[in-house]
């Protein structure tokens, strides 16, 4: 009798719990009334968010069917993981920023809404102005699944004060003399590190884990993480072995780069140079130190450029997908694209002139914009991306770990990386 009652109690509790979870699942998905849109972004930078909010505010004035547009900054390091967790938990945003390394997964998954029709039909949009090269990563079977919101080339930020104090030629002087090569860049970084007691050159966001940032280095040797078709591992190619041998020597013998487990932030004045994207220029503080932005040094294969890309897509399952796509068309129309250009280099050909970019990039000189941004976007190689990138990335990271020891056998380690990832690439 008692057991029976207890059992009934449990059943009631279970039913209650089920009712609760059922309520929780679809609580936000209210189709009626004005839409509330949410877009996940990687940046919590005040200036970035202020501009986003201004554009959203303007859009809302003419669109009473949209009650709210919220920009939700997620931490950069765990951005994609957090986004997919939100999607798994039934709390997907309406619009999402997507990095190039997860582009193939998102584009092919069917999670995003095709945008061609909305963008092409939007008034005054000038779709044909968008550089076709920037769209490639975001297309699948002829459809566009995300707008290439930011095509940001990598450049070298230089602390000219630190270099001059160490008695080194600045990169600008080396460029003028036609000597801006990796050999000279590493020698300058090493000499400055010795004199200043600070770090030489930092490849930002690499930290001996984020290996895809090393493509800013090895592309100069003509190396690739994998072949164009994504089927063959490129880590043990002769070009990659040469590039990684140079990097290994620069780190452990020459000490031009700070070793593993050492943190140095260029923007806090901890290092002489750093390789990063132009969008990080917002981290430079007025009056901190003298600085310059120059293109990547030439490698054995000559001059080259590497770009990072990020797209913005609309989640297909969003109850307000139509409004979200419409807002995206507004956010990226020629007028707003020009405004956003100060932080996120646009894919619009008409706006990729030093003159246009200079209006919104007061920190950068026209020649910096021309050499780093415009030349970079038109000739740049996009950072490595592949379907199933997270798993591949983890295998490469684990495989490269033995390389970050002073006495590593570079060729053997790189052969090991290929042994690990070839089965995944062949899938």
């Amino acid at each position: 009798m008692r057991a029976g009652k207890a059992l009934r109690g449990v059943a009631v509790a279970l039913a209650g719990a089920l009712a609760l979870t059922a309520c929780g699942g679809g609580g936000d998905a209210d189709d009626s009334g004005p839409a509330k849109l949410r877009m996940t972004v990687w940046s919590a930078n005040e200036a970035h968010l202020k501009l986003f909010n201004e554009i959203a505010e303007e859009y809302r004035k003419s669109h009473p069917d949209v009650a709210e547009i919220k920009f939700d900054p997620l931490p950069f390091d765990t951005y994609t993981t957090t986004l997919t967790t939100q999607i798994a938990g039934g709390n997907a945003p309406d619009l999402a920023w997507v990095f190039e390394n997860s582009a193939p997964d998102f584009v092919a998954s069917g999670a995003l809404l095709p945008l061609d029709d909305t963008l092409k039909k939007a008034e005054g949009y000038q779709y044909e102005d968008i550089s076709p090269a920037t769209l490639k990563l975001w297309q699948n079977e002829g459809k566009l699944y995300a707008y290439p919101f930011s095509t940001s080339p990598f450049g070298v930020f230089v602390n000219t004060d630190m270099l001059k104090k160490a008695g080194q030629k600045t990169p600008a002087e080396l460029i003028a003399a036609g000597q801006w090569t990796w050999d000279n860049a590493l020698a300058t970084a090493a000499a400055t590190a010795v004199k200043s007691g600070k770090a030489g050159l930092v490849i930002r966001d690499f930290d001996y884990k984020g290996w895809d940032n090393l493509s800013t280095f090895w592309t100069g040797w003509g190396a690739q993480a994998w072949s164009e078709d994504g089927k063959t591992c490129g880590f043990n190619s002769p070009e990659m072995v040469d590039a990684m041998t140079t990097l290994h020597k620069a780190t452990f013998t020459q000490k031009a780069l700070p070793g593993p487990g050492t943190t140095a932030d260029f923007f806090a004045g901890d290092s002489a140079m750093t390789i990063t994207q132009i969008s990080r220029a917002s981290l430079l503080k007025d009056g901190g130190f003298g600085w310059d932005l120059v293109p990547l040094p030439a490698g054995p294969k000559g001059n080259y450029a590497v770009v990072g890309q990020a797209g913005v897509g609309v989640m297909k399952k969003s109850p307000h997908a139509k409004q979200a796509a419409d807002f995206l068309a507004f956010l990226t129309n020629p007028t707003n694209s020009a405004k956003l250009a100060q932080f996120f280099p646009p894919p619009r050909q008409s706006q990729l002139t030093a003159e246009t970019l200079a209006k919104t990039n007061p920190q950068l000189k026209p020649e910096q914009l021309q050499k780093v941004v415009i030349d970079g976007i038109t000739s740049g190689v996009v950072k490595p991306s592949h379907s199933g990138q997270a798993e591949l990335s983890q295998q490469v990271r684990a495989g490269l770990d033995p390389l970050w020891q002073p006495n590593a056998d570079v060729k053997a380690v790189l052969d090991g990386v290929c042994a690990k990832i070839q089965p995944l690439l062949a899938k």
């Binding site: 009652k5 109690g9 449990v10 509790a13 279970l14 209650g16 719990a17 089920l18 609760l20 979870t21 993981t81 997919t84 967790t85 999607i87 798994a88 997964d105 998102f106 998954s109 069917g110 999670a111 001996y208 884990k209 070793g259 593993p260 487990g261 050492t262 943190t263 399952k317 199933g388 997270a390 798993e391 983890q394 990271r397 684990a398 495989g399 770990d401 033995p402 970050w404 020891q405």
Partner: protein, 315 residues
Amino acid sequence: MTQTDTRVGSAAAGPAPGPARPFWTSRRRDQLAGYAFIAPQLLGSVVFVILPLILVLWYSLHEWNVLAGTFEFVGTDNYRALADDPNLGAVLRATGLFSIGLVVVNLGLALLLAVLLNQRLRGTILFRTLFFSPVVVSLVAWTIVWGFLLQDNGGINGLLDTVGVHGPNWLRGEGTAMVSVIVVQVFKNVGLNMVLFLAALQGVPAELYEAAEVDGASRMRQFWRITVPLISPTILLTSIITVVGSLQVFAQIAVLTQGGPGTSTTVLVYYLYQQAFQFHHFGYGATLSILLFVIVLALTVLQWQMRKRWVFHES
């Protein structure tokens, strides 16, 4: 007529005690109050423990791609993949190493500290507080600070440099990374076990030691023959808590090593996280959590069974 009689008779016999007893007897009220008191806890357990447990089992039988929004029944495919997983050996080895290292060092150090701090000496309260304080510090904050200390140019190597020793790159060496993670975790939680041991030590009757001393037993002999048997229930409790806790380690690995270098610190929970949340293999992640559940359950049952052999006071 007969029928009527019967009806009357049954009506008279049936509800005889009825009208006198209201539905809400004091016993029923007590029962209701009892259920009301345990309801929040019961509801919490059902929603946050039992239901997820059942769901995890359900998910482990599916291939769930969150991006594509597909959820397909695949039967035992994930369990077969588990048996064939080339990384699983390394992951279980790392998990075992971490658990054994943590349990041995944590319990050994906790007992040593408890014995030392059980003496009537000046300053013991200060030391007890010092060793216990990390227990109440936020785990992630604690780990981040240790992350800075363990860097190549961090505080620990700085200290070693002052005595002329060049320390290793703690979090980057295959061997030292695991040792570092274990030590960070030991210092975080040793205080809790220390306090439990201390309470147990103070419960050991002093006259037993006096009698042993009269019999000429050495301090060491007293420790092994009196102290250890009498505090063995606490040793059992702390070892279960520590073993189970060690299998759940995640934040320290995520903050300090991200499973590296190589896969040397990729313990089961971290691997599960990678599979589910980074590689989007939620079904396989659920299968790994079933494996973890089975391991924890087996170890707990084993320890519980073993108590009969070595725990004093148990029949």
